[in-house]
């Protein structure tokens, strides 16, 4: 137990995490590509045409996973922020700031694909429905987090201030999720739920889940790449980074 605990905390130091992240990145990229190809193939070639919405519904395979990831990444970000505040580990703050741009990207993607889906189905690019609006708020929260961290020069203060903001913002996630129940509007109810049988064909569900997995693996890969960049930038005055850089320069 004691031994394992030691190992666990070993990777909380940027120096030992850096090579580990480097080793993990290709794996996550490979998984992302495999799941992505499988999910998109199933979604676009195998899944049946929807009875009501025709072929237009197929954007669901991007839209729903993007929306899921946008919320999930915020939770993960808040989790790392909390860990960083509690244990004062430097790496946690770096993880939080590495995740933010990916989360913002997925939020934007969800809104964008939603607009493309809404135009043929509802006849409008945008409606002021609860879920759209709260997704938009989530986008604002991501932007606020990124802007706050960008405005603070001292990285330690940026981490802590961002962490507090992320934890305050995480209150918004349940509001997003329950907004469908709170305000009854145009948006269709959630298509997938854990408690009742899904209201869609099995292949569609499978394709959607595969795409969600692909997005997930992609997020991990990209966040790890970004965190490696942040580590190098913040630790640029330390000896091991200088060694790393000279080794990399000599290797090429």
């Amino acid at each position: 137990m004691n031994n394992r605990l030691l190992n666990w905390f070993k990777f909380a130091s940027p120096q030992s995490f850096f090579p580990l992240a480097g080793k993990m990145i290709p794996g996550f990229w490979a998984l992302a590509v495999i799941f992505g190809v499988a999910g998109l193939y199933l979604g676009f070639f195998v899944a049946p045409t929807d009875a009501q919405q025709g072929e237009g519904y197929r954007i669901i395979f991007l839209h729903v996973p993007a929306a899921w990831m946008s919320m999930f990444i915020y939770l993960v970000m808040a989790f790392w922020a909390a860990i960083g505040l509690i244990y004062k580990t430097r790496l946690s703050g770096m993880m939080a700031s590495a995740l933010a741009p990916t989360g913002a990207m997925f939020t934007f993607l969800a809104l964008w694909t939603g607009a493309f889906w809404g135009k043929p189905m509802w006849g409008a690019w945008w409606v002021w429905d609860a879920r759209l609006t709260s997704e938009l708020i989530l986008f604002f929260l991501y932007i606020g987090f990124i802007a706050l961290q960008a405005a603070i020069d001292d990285p330690r203060r940026a981490d802590k201030a961002g962490a507090i903001l992320a934890l305050v913002g995480v209150v918004n996630i349940p509001i997003i999720y329950f907004s469908v129940k709170w305000w009854n509007t145009l948006h269709q109810g959630a298509s997938v739920s854990l408690t009742k049988a899904p209201s869609m064909a099995q292949t569609m569900l499978l394709a959607m889940l595969l795409c969600a997995l692909a997005f997930w693996m992609y997020s991990v890969a990209v966040a790890l790449m970004r965190v490696r960049g942040i580590i190098l930038e913040r630790e640029r005055n330390s000896e091991w980074v200088k060694q790393q850089v000279t080794m990399a320069a000599a290797g090429r």
Binding site: F140, I143, I152, R157, L165, G169, N172
Partner: protein, 222 residues
């Protein structure tokens, strides 16, 4: 602890009264923003009556925002904040006191002024009273949540714009239920549910936000 609370509230109110121009200019900002809307959308009474709750609430949010940067800035500059943080009492209590004082000098005057503007927008009497009530219940949440943003952006460049970016999204629930209460009354429905949620937001905000604000202040003071 109660003594500290009283002292902070009294002190901040005295400071605010010595700078009455700040309070008055925020109020006039509120009036001007609201007055711009009829000029923008046209003077039809029906349209204005429909718009009034939302416009008034948005203007209230903006006016509250306007006074937020000063909430901690002066105390930060002259070292008062550091002394409060070093004191034996929890910093959150002092923050709570400052939040209350901020509400008394920004939210409360807005609320008292709102019937006048409601009349300008030709709101029926019961909707005007609901507006006053909703503002009275909802504006404490604005001060409480805003304090978090003010603490996070303390001493940063471009703090004002950043503050609005951080705080306005968090104000949205208050806006929805505040304007919703007036809408519901104007539409003949009861506003009980809206007011309850608004009250819950204010109470939760006043209780939890000072802790987050205190944590953010400690980060800024490091």
């Amino acid at each position: 602890m109660l003594a500290l609370l009283k002292t902070v509230v009294a002190r901040d109110l005295r400071l605010a009264m010595r700078r009455q121009a700040d309070i008055v200019s925020a109020l006039f900002f509120f009036i001007i923003v609201v007055s711009l809307f009829p000029l923008g959308v046209g003077p039809e009474a029906d349209l204005l009556r429909r718009l009034a709750p939302g416009v008034l609430w948005v203007a209230a949010l903006l006016a509250t925002m306007l006074s937020l940067p000063r909430l901690f800035a002066d105390d930060f500059r002259d070292g008062t904040l550091e002394q409060l943080a070093l004191g034996p009492q929890p910093l959150a209590v002092a923050v709570f006191g400052k939040t209350l004082a901020h509400w008394l000098s920004s939210g409360l005057p807005l609320t008292l002024l709102s019937p006048l503007i409601g009349a300008q927008f030709d709101l029926p009497a019961d909707a005007v009273w609901m507006l006053v009530l909703a503002l009275l219940i909802g504006t404490p949440a604005l001060s409480a949540i805003g304090a978090i943003g003010a603490a996070l952006t303390l001493g940063l460049r471009g703090g004002g714009v950043l503050l609005s970016l951080l705080v306005l999204p968090l104000y949205i629930p208050v806006l929805i239920f505040g304007a919703g209460a007036v809408d519901a009354t104007a539409g003949g429905l009861g506003a009980q549910a809206h007011l309850s949620v608004l009250g819950a937001l204010s109470l939760a905000g006043l209780f939890f936000a000072p802790w987050a604000t205190a944590a953010a202040l400690r980060v800024a003071l490091e």
